[in-house]
């Protein structure tokens, strides 16, 4: 499982251009930062109020005033700038974040996203997720293809929406997909799987790109 997540994170890291402002969600999306190519410099936005997010601190090296949005003590880069929540979300909604990477409970072929609430279960709250997916120029969902064998990429989401029509790209251990007006286009397939495998693990019909490539991790 850890290897599959690393594979997804490594492939996601290839989606950034030099100079991009990016926001990475908690969990697998955070791992993406470890795989950014050396010649690509990105600026990470932390929605609790700064740009220039860097790695978690070691014990004894914490600064009491610097946490990330998951509540961990973190370092910041030399170009860091700190601001209040209103500015932080002006950056988000105003289209100043180039790429956001998040996980999902469900994504559907219209690019609708559900990742914040399961009715009847304990609710964590949406935090900044609803703002991020509406505001970022490119929304990448990086996640395991299925949840305990159940497809997460569907014809229609069954869970309450986080936002409508916002997802641009889905990266899983099985392949890379783009959301198009016609449906979900499979552009890369990992060599461990066949077309039948990935279709069987998906709840809507995949359109196979005529230029289908092998999914490369690095």
């Amino acid at each position: 499982m850890a290897d599959l997540k690393a594979r997804i994170a490594a492939r996601t890291a290839k989606e950034f251009k030099d100079g991009d402002v990016a926001n990475l969600g908690i969990g697998l999306p955070t791992m993406v930062a470890n795989y950014i190519p050396e010649d690509v410099h990105i600026v990470l936005h932390s929605e609790n109020g700064f740009i220039g997010l860097s790695e978690e601190t070691e014990e004894g090296d914490e600064h009491p005033d610097v946490i990330n949005s998951g509540g961990c003590f973190v370092r910041h880069t030399p170009e860091a700038n700190f601001f209040d929540t209103a500015m932080s979300f002006s950056i988000v909604r105003g289209g100043h974040v180039d790429v956001t990477v998040l996980g999902a409970m469900e994504v559907d072929e219209h690019g609708n996203l559900a990742n914040w609430i399961v009715p009847g279960k304990m609710v964590a709250g949406m935090g900044g997720a609803m703002d991020l997916v509406v505001g970022a120029k490119k929304v990448v969902i990086s996640m395991l293809h299925t949840q305990k064998g159940k497809p997460k990429i569907l014809k229609e989401c069954t869970l309450p929406y986080t936002a409508l029509g916002v997802v641009d790209m889905i990266i899983t251990e099985m392949g890379v997909m783009e959301v198009t007006p016609e449906g979900i286009l499979l552009t890369e397939l990992h060599p461990d799987y066949s077309l039948e495998d990935i279709q069987a693990a998906t709840g809507c019909e995949l359109i196979v790109s005529p230029d289908l490539k092998a999914m490369e991790e690095a």
Partner: protein, 228 residues
């Protein structure tokens, strides 16, 4: 000279049962902990608390952080927040019916508070269109794009944290302690700041303080750097 400096207990003395209180901070960072402690000492109940989150619960012998201090004493009836997953006391309270929790997207929460403080009649945001958040709310289409009308949010009190202030109330929040402290200071009827350091007015260059003291009614010293 306008004098605003007082003790934490004096500063919260008129926060009574049923009050609505905005609390700055993000998972405790930027929350005025000494004002949370003063509220606990006062033992006030049935509060409506507006805060980014539910703070952090007590863990491994360390005390609760931020609004978590009020939650563990059962002082809150209604929590208005954007993310409560880090404090299990919120989920427990919702399950046993002792706590009502209203969830609002983080950016919308900030703008609704800012709107109240800035004299705006509401905010138009694309966030939440087509979701549960939009239920019962007016939508407007502007230049072909749909927006939700979100209403201003005010409160009886705002409890904010400053890294440094002067004795007039001009203040600054260092690094990631800014979060909601600035917008809340504009939006509430009575504004209290708890500061790590208080200096005399005029000692600093005016550029050193980013939030004007005219919003601040009460100043309390003695905030500590919190490494928990």
């Amino acid at each position: 000279m306008i004098r605003k400096i007082m003790t934490a207990d004096q500063a919260v003395a008129d926060i009574n049962d049923g009050a609505s209180v905005m609390v700055g901070g993000f998972l405790g960072t930027g929350t005025p902990e000494i004002l949370m402690e003063a509220l606990v000492r006062k033992g006030v109940k049935h509060l409506t608390i507006i805060c980014n989150d539910g703070g952090l619960p007590a863990k491994d012998g360390r005390p609760a952080r931020g609004v978590g201090k009020l939650l563990e004493q059962g002082m809150i009836d209604h929590l208005i927040a954007s993310h409560v997953g880090m404090n299990p006391l919120v989920g427990q309270g919702m399950n046993d019916g002792s706590l009502k929790c209203t969830l609002i997207p983080q950016g919308t929460l900030a703008e609704r508070i800012r709107a109240a403080g800035a004299g705006l009649g509401g905010v138009l945001t694309p966030t939440g269109v087509g979701t549960m958040i939009a239920e019962g709310k007016e939508t407007l289409t502007i230049n072909g794009k749909e927006y939700l009308l979100e209403m201003p949010m005010t409160a009886d009190f705002a409890l904010c944290r400053a890294s440094e202030c002067d004795d007039f109330g001009n203040f600054r929040c260092n690094l990631a302690t800014k979060n909601f402290n600035g917008v809340m200071a504009l939006a509430a009827e009575t504004v209290v700041i708890a500061s790590e350091r208080i200096i005399k007015r005029g000692e600093n260059h005016p550029d050193d303080f980013t939030i004007p003291g005219i919003f601040v009614d009460r100043i309390v010293g003695g905030e500590q750097p919190w490494l928990i």
